[in-house]
């Protein structure tokens, strides 16, 4: 019986004309083009979050969205709402599209959207978990949760490790440390000869590399940070403990819809 079916289907396709075959092949392609045209003309919007789409084609978060983010992080629903106000301010500073572009983050941190900065790139990349070139609100909240004063130390240690593991190999290598030292000296408008640079890098790697493999593993890093807790000083933002009052001076209109 199965052979009959096979023969039938084969016979059916044989009876198609060349025109029908071309049409069948192009049909999916036409559909894709149509979707693209509709998207460009704004017939429907892409929004990366669970949200309602308003008339301005922007993501409007619901109370449910805020509650989900609050569950997933160290923030209360009110604090997530407050962070949304901050997020909107940052994400509309250059391009008003409900996501933070690298230039917008640079503007917030350096008061200028111009210039290249290795550390800014790293912060941006670690925040941008979906790797789509922008920081969306859920990514923003998840990343800031690590900076909460009550966040576990392990999360902070891990986040810092990701920042410094430039090539994302799971190790911080001497070349990466050197690149970062050069970058910070440029930021400080300082310039050191190569031998001094090497001395700084060598001493740090020697101090941190417990298993003597010439690079810093996650375990090495954890032990190193426990001996040098000041390394994590920027990994805690006291503001986040009282975010609602810190941000109360911004225009405070909640976007939550029932």
């Amino acid at each position: 019986m199965s052979s009959t079916i096979a023969t039938d289907s084969h016979g059916l396709s044989d009876s198609w004309t060349i025109g029908e075959r071309v049409c069948a092949a192009l049909m999916p392609l036409i559909a894709v083009v149509e979707v693209l045209i509709l998207t460009v003309t704004g017939c429907f919007s892409y929004c990366p979050c669970i949200s309602i789409i308003d008339q301005n084609h922007k993501c409007t978060y619901t109370a449910k969205d805020f509650a989900i983010l609050a569950d997933e992080t160290r923030f209360t629903v009110e604090e997530v709402e407050a962070l949304h106000v901050l997020f909107k301010r940052l994400s509309s500073s250059l391009i008003d599209d409900d996501s933070i572009h690298k230039e917008e983050l640079q503007l917030a941190l350096f008061q200028t959207p111009y210039g290249k900065n290795l550390f800014l790139d790293r912060v941006f990349d670690v925040f941008d978990q979906k790797r789509n070139g922008v920081i969306e609100f859920d990514e923003f909240v998840h990343a800031l949760s690590v900076f909460h004063p009550y966040a576990p130390m392990d999360e902070k240690i891990d986040f810092a490790f990701k920042l410094y593991d430039l090539r994302q190999t799971g190790f911080i290598e001497p070349e990466e440390v050197k690149l970062m030292v050069v970058a910070i000296l440029i930021e400080f408008d300082m310039n050191l000869p190569d031998d001094l640079l090497e001395a700084i890098v060598h001493k740090t790697i020697a101090d941190a590399d417990k298993d003597n493999d010439g690079k810093i593993s996650r375990e090495d890093w954890k032990a190193f940070v426990s001996r040098n807790p000041s390394l994590l000083i920027n990994m805690t933002l006291p503001y986040l403990k009282d975010i609602t009052s810190v941000l109360s001076s911004f225009v405070f209109k909640t976007e939550a819809k029932p």
Binding site: V123, V181, K203, A208, L231, L237
Partner: protein, 438 residues
């Protein structure tokens, strides 16, 4: 560069940063010190460990210091802890900063009888309390009577007499005077610590009220003779009751000399007498004393010159503005930085001196602590007084980084300050300029 000598690196012993010497003997010195963990000031008596060993005083000293550590009395200088290095023993003491009691006499002459009695009450309270704990002074003299900032008498060097006497053998025979020492001690007849301490208290009382010593002769032989016979005359202004008490205290026979319980019942003494009130401390640990005096290496502290904090690559990197996410929360973001840095290849203490030299003419008060400095503007600006925190870090051998951070006041004023500050000739000497860096 100015010819002014650069500040010396500070010395650290354990958690204490040693300061200037405030007292010195042949084998011991006392230094002002600061507990870097809590900022409290203390005095540290530094004994020569080899001297203690040579004179076989280890056990006796250990016993007495342990006993003294247990003593917590308002009129006795407190021993906080004891440490030892390979060559020294460090006794951390309560810092008493009102000077010696006898400075009052040097300045004002004799004291009124009531005032002298008040100090004598405190002295006897201290002596009696220590005696009841089995600790004798055996070397009470003016240098050991201090006043705190409220004018309360504090007796120091209780329990250190074993050590002090070794030192004073020299003094009594050569350059010093045994004016306060009981006759039985001078004659080496064997003595009881409690009665010899009472004698010394009597001499001290006499000096407080008279303004001069009861026994004073230019040569030692005559002096010993006078002390041995208790030949002294009270001045006319002493009250009869005071004269009577002094006769009982300065009795050359230790067996018939007045004892503390009888003294407490004396009519002159009882006037205005208040017993000391204080809280007994439970569970005082004396393990540190034992550790300081035993031969084990594991508890030894090292005396080291204070160095700037060494900054590793990650500490440097973490100072990037990109990692300071606080900027996300700033309502008004100015285009000016609130901190700045420069590098220098000069020694850290020289950098500190130059910063101080450059800041003072600009109207800044300077508060130093280790290799940190707080510069406080004396004029109020747009947002109050400008204050700047500075710290010197060691980034690599012979390379220092100096961080200046605005901690108060207006940011634009900070920039104006830094412009003037960094262009001062003194600072130009230590800043490592770009052309040198290439």
């Amino acid at each position: 560069m100015s010819g002014k000598q650069a500040a010396r690196p500070r010395t650290r012993v354990g958690k204490y940063e040693l300061g200037k010497t405030i007292g010195e003997g042949s084998f011991a010195k006392v230094k002002f010190a600061k507990n870097v963990e809590n900022g409290n000031h203390v005095a540290i008596k530094i004994l020569d460990r080899n001297h203690v060993l040579r004179h076989k005083m280890m056990e006796q000293l250990k016993k007495e210091i342990s006993a003294m550590k247990m003593i917590n009395h308002p009129n006795v200088v407190k021993i906080y802890e004891v440490m030892a290095s390979k060559t020294k023993i460090y006794i951390v003491l309560e810092l008493v900063n009102g000077g010696e009691l006898f400075n009052k006499i040097a300045k004002n002459g004799k004291l009124k009888e009531d005032e002298a009695r008040r100090y004598f009450h405190q002295l006897i309270n201290a002596v009696d309390y220590c005696h009841s704990r089995g600790v004798y002074h055996r070397d009470l003299k003016p240098e050991n009577l201090l006043l705190d900032s409220n004018g309360v008498l504090k007796v120091t060097d209780f329990g250190l007499s074993t050590y002090a006497q070794q030192e004073d053998e020299l003094l009594r025979t050569a350059c010093g005077t045994p004016n306060y020492v009981a006759p039985e001690v001078l004659n080496d007849r064997g003595y009881v610590g409690s009665t010899s301490d009472i004698w010394s208290c009597g001499v001290i009382l006499f000096v407080l009220m008279a303004g001069y010593l009861p026994f004073d002769e230019p040569n030692h032989a005559a002096l010993y003779k006078k002390i041995g016979r208790a030949q002294f005359t009270c001045p006319s202004w002493f009250s009869p009751e005071a004269k009577k008490l002094l006769k009982l205290i300065l009795d050359p026979n230790p067996l018939t000399r007045i004892k503390v319980p009888e003294l407490l019942e004396d009519e002159w003494f009882k006037k205005g007498y208040k017993q000391a009130t204080f809280i007994m401390e439970e569970d005082i640990n004396v393990d540190d004393v034992a550790a300081a005096f035993n031969d084990s290496k594991e508890n030894l502290v090292t005396e080291r010159k204070e160095k700037p904090v060494s900054m590793n690559a990650f500490e440097l990197i973490s100072r990037s503005q990109s990692f300071n996410l606080e900027n996300l929360f700033e309502k008004q973001q100015g285009s000016v930085k609130r901190e700045t840095h420069f590098t220098s290849q000069r020694p850290a203490n020289e950098i500190m001196s130059k910063i101080e030299e450059a800041a003072k003419p600009l109207g800044f008060n300077v508060h130093k602590r280790n290799y940190k400095m707080k510069l406080q503007g004396d004029k109020s600006g747009r947002k109050g007084h400008l204050s700047v925190a500075t710290e010197v870090f060691e980034v690599a051998p012979s390379l220092h980084m100096v961080e200046l951070r605005k901690t108060g006041g207006d940011t634009l004023e900070f920039h104006k300050f830094y412009k003037n500050f960094s262009s001062s000739s003194g600072l130009q000497d230590v800043v490592w300029h770009s052309e040198e860096k290439q």
